[in-house]
C-alpha cells in the first residue's frame, strides 16, 4: 500500500511508433483483460458503497418490505440529536488552538520536518476540528447528544485504538530489532512469533478465553504458583478491554514484526559501521540510526494498525459480546447488532458510512505523509 506508484504503470512505450489501428487494438485488448476483474470489483466493492449510502437514507428492515425514505434522519439521530453549532462557542480557545497548530505546522515546514502537502492536509484537519467539531455542543438543558449507544461504541473503539496501536507497534518493532541478526536460530523465533497470526479469529478467541479463564486458565494456574488470586479478566469492566488488547497483540504482532524486519533489512550495514566508528552504543544506534531510517516503515505500520484497530469485531463478538456493562461494545459490533439483531439496516448503514469516512480520512493522511517521503 505504501509503495503504490500509478505513474510507473502508466509509462508506455513511445506510441508514435504504432499505427492508429494497433493502438486501437491495444486498447480493446487492455479492456478485455480488465473486464472480468472490473465487473466483479464494481459489483461487489464499489456499487455496494453507493448502495450503502442509499440504504442509510431509509428506514430499512432486514426482513420484510418496510423501506421508507427518511432523508438524513438516521444521521441526525446518530450525530445531531440535541446538538447545536455556534461560532461564538468557546471562541477564544478555538481560535487559540487553531493559531497554535498553524504556528507549529509553519515551524515544522520551515525546519523541513514535514512536507508542504502533509502540512496542508494536517492544517485542513485542524480547521475541521477547531472551527467545526469543537463548535458543537449539547443544547441548553440537554446533557447528552447524538445516539448514546453509538457514542459509547465510538468511545470504546477509540479506547481500543489508543491502547492497541502503541503496544502492538512497539512490541513488533522490538521483536524485529531483536531478531534482525543473520543467525539460523532467528528464523525459528521469527516462525514462532509469526505463527499466531495465521489462526482464524474464532480459534484465537477460543484459546484466549481459556487462557484468561479465572478457574481453568493457564494464566491463573501460573499466577497461583506465586500465590496470586486468579483474575476474572473478561467479566471485569475495567479489565475486559485490556484483555482484548492482549489477545489482539498475541494474534497480530507478528505481522508488524515482519514489516519492520523488511524495513530493517533495507538499512545498509555501512550506516551502522559508520556509527560504530563514532563510538555509538546499541541504544544510541537504535534511537539515532535505526528509528530515523525506519520512519517510512513506521508510518505505514502505524496507519495500518490504526485502520485494523478501527475495524475490530471478531475478538469482541466472540469473547465478551460487548460486555461486561457495554465496556467492550465497539463500532462494528454496534453496526452488526443494529443490523442483524435489531433489523435496522438503514440505521446500521448510516453508522458504517461514518466509520468508512473515518477510515478514509486515515488513508488520506497516510498517503499524504508517504507521498511526501518519495517526492
Amino acid at each position: 500500500m505504501d509503495n503504490v506508484q500509478p505513474a510507473s504503470i502508466a509509462a508506455a512505450p513511445p506510441s508514435s511508433l504504432k499505427s492508429v489501428q494497433e493502438r486501437f487494438a491495444d486498447t480493446i485488448a487492455g479492456y478485455l483483460f480488465l473486464l472480468p476483474f472490473v465487473v466483479v470489483y464494481f459489483l461487489f466493492r464499489i456499487y455496494p458503497l453507493f448502495r450503502g449510502l442509499y440504504i442509510s437514507l431509509h428506514e430499512w428492515e432486514l426482513v420484510g418490505t418496510h423501506r421508507e425514505y427518511v432523508g438524513l434522519e438516521n444521521y441526525r439521530s446518530l450525530l445531531w440529536n440535541n446538538l447545536q453549532w455556534d461560532i461564538p462557542y468557546q471562541l477564544i480557545l478555538r481560535v487559540a488552538g487553531l493559531a497554535l497548530t498553524a504556528v507549529v505546522l509553519w515551524w515544522l515546514v520551515r525546519r523541513d520536518r514535514i512536507g508542504r502537502i502533509a502540512a496542508a492536509v494536517l492544517f485542513v484537519s485542524a480547521v475541521a476540528i477547531f472551527a467545526g467539531i469543537l463548535g458543537l455542543h449539547p443544547q441548553e438543558g440537554a446533557a447528552r447528544w447524538g445516539d448514546e449507544l453509538f457514542r459509547e461504541a465510538a468511545k470504546n473503539t477509540l479506547y481500543f485504538v489508543i491502547l492497541s496501536t502503541p503496544s502492538i507497534v512497539i512490541v513488533g518493532l522490538l521483536l524485529a530489532v531483536a531478531l534482525n541478526r543473520p543467525w539460523p536460530i532467528m528464523g525459528l523465533f521469527r516462525t514462532i512469533f509469526f505463527s499466531s497470526y495465521i489462526f482464524s479469529v474464532s480459534v484465537i478467541t477460543l484459546i484466549w478465553v481459556m487462557v484468561l479463564s479465572p478457574r481453568q486458565g493457564i494464566l491463573g494456574h501460573f499466577l497461583e504458583i506465586f500465590g496470586a488470586e486468579p483474575i476474572a479478566w473478561l467479566t471485569d469492566k475495567d479489565l475486559a478491554m485490556p484483555a482484548i488488547v492482549i489477545t489482539t497483540l498475541w494474534w497480530t504482532v507478528g505481522f508488524n514484526m515482519i514489516l519492520f524486519l523488511a524495513g530493517l533489512q533495507d538499512i545498509p550495514s555501512e550506516v551502522y559501521e559508520a556509527a560504530k566508528l563514532d563510538g555509538a552504543g546499541p541504544l544510541v544506534n537504535f534511537f539515532r540510526v535505526t528509528l530515523p531510517l525506519l520512519k517510512r516503515t513506521t508510518v505505514a505500520v502505524v496507519v495500518l494498525q490504526v485502520m485494523f484497530s478501527f475495524q475490530i469485531f471478531g475478538q469482541v463478538y466472540l469473547m465478551t459480546r460487548g460486555g461486561p456493562a457495554g465496556s467492550t461494545r465497539v463500532l462494528v459490533l454496534e453496526i452488526y447488532q443494529t443490523g442483524f439483531r435489531d433489523w435496522m439496516l438503514g440505521y446500521a448503514s448510516a453508522m458504517s458510512m461514518i466509520l468508512f469516512l473515518f477510515m478514509l480520512g486515515t488513508s488520506i493522511v497516510q498517503i499524504s505523509l508517504t507521498q511526501e517521503e518519495e517526492a
Binding site: 502508466a10 487492455g30 479492456y31 476483474f37 450503502g52 481453568q216 505481522f255 514489516l259 439496516l345 458504517s352
Partner: protein, 283 residues
Amino acid sequence: MLAQVIPGSLRRRFGTWSLLGLLTVVSIVWIAPIVWVIAMSLKPNNVLQVSTRGLIPDPFTLENYKDILNVSDVPRWFANSMVVSASTTILTLVLASLAGYAFARIPFKGKKLMYVFVLSGMMVPEQAVFIPLHTMFSAWEMHNTYQALVLPRLAFPLGVFLMAQFFQAIPQDIEEASKLDGANRLIVYARIMMPLSIPALTTLGLFTFVLTWNDYLWPLVSATRTDMYTLTVGLGSLQGTFAQTEGLGFLMASAVTASAPILIVFIVFQRYIIQGVRMGGRF
C-alpha cells in the same frame, strides 16, 4: 566501572547469550497456549471437568477427534471451508493476473485512470459494505450458497496490484520476441507470463487461501444455516453454545482441526507467506 573490568568481547558474548535466553523464554510463553490447547484436545472430557492443568496430554485419548468425525458438523464445515477457499483462490488468481497483465504490459487509453480506480478500492473496507452486500444477496435469494461466500471475496484490488508489480519486473524483451512470431496477447499471457510468475501466483494464492479460510464477518451474516457454515463461523458458534466445562476437549479438538490445514500450509510455504506480507503491506 564494569565496562572497564570486563573485556569487550566477553561483554558482547554475554549480551548475545542474554538476548538468546530472553528470546527463548518469550517464545516458550508465546506458544504455551497453543501447546496447552492441543494437550486438552487429547484428554478425556471428564478429566478436563476436574482440571485443565498441564501441557502434557495424560491421560491420553483420541475420543474427541473420533467425536468430531462421527457426531458433529465439523466435517461438513471443513468441506465448506475447503470448497470456498479453493474456488476463491483459483478465481482470484485468474482475475488478478489478467488485470495485472493489462496494467503492466498493454498500453491502452485510460490506463492510469483505471489503475487509480482499481486501487482506490483498497480504501473501502469490508465493514463498510457488508450491509449493502447482504441486501443484494437477499434480493437475489443467494444467501447460504457457496457463490455468496466466494463472489464478494474476488473484488480484491491488492491481488491486481501485486500481479501488476510482478509483471512489470519481468524483462520486456521476452514478450517482444514472441510477438514477432505472431502470438497474440492471450497466448503470451498464458504460455509465457503465467509460467514465469509461478512464485508470485503462489504468494498471492496462499494469501488468498489463508484470508478466505479465516474470514469471519461476511460468512457470519451470509451463511446462517448450520450446514452452510464455514469452519471459522462454525467454531465461533460452538463457543457460544457450549458451556465451558462440558465437551471442552471436543471444543479444543475442533479448534485444532480448524487450524490444521492452515498450519500445514504455513509450515510448508512459510517463505511465500512472509513474502506476501512484505509485498502487500496490508491484509
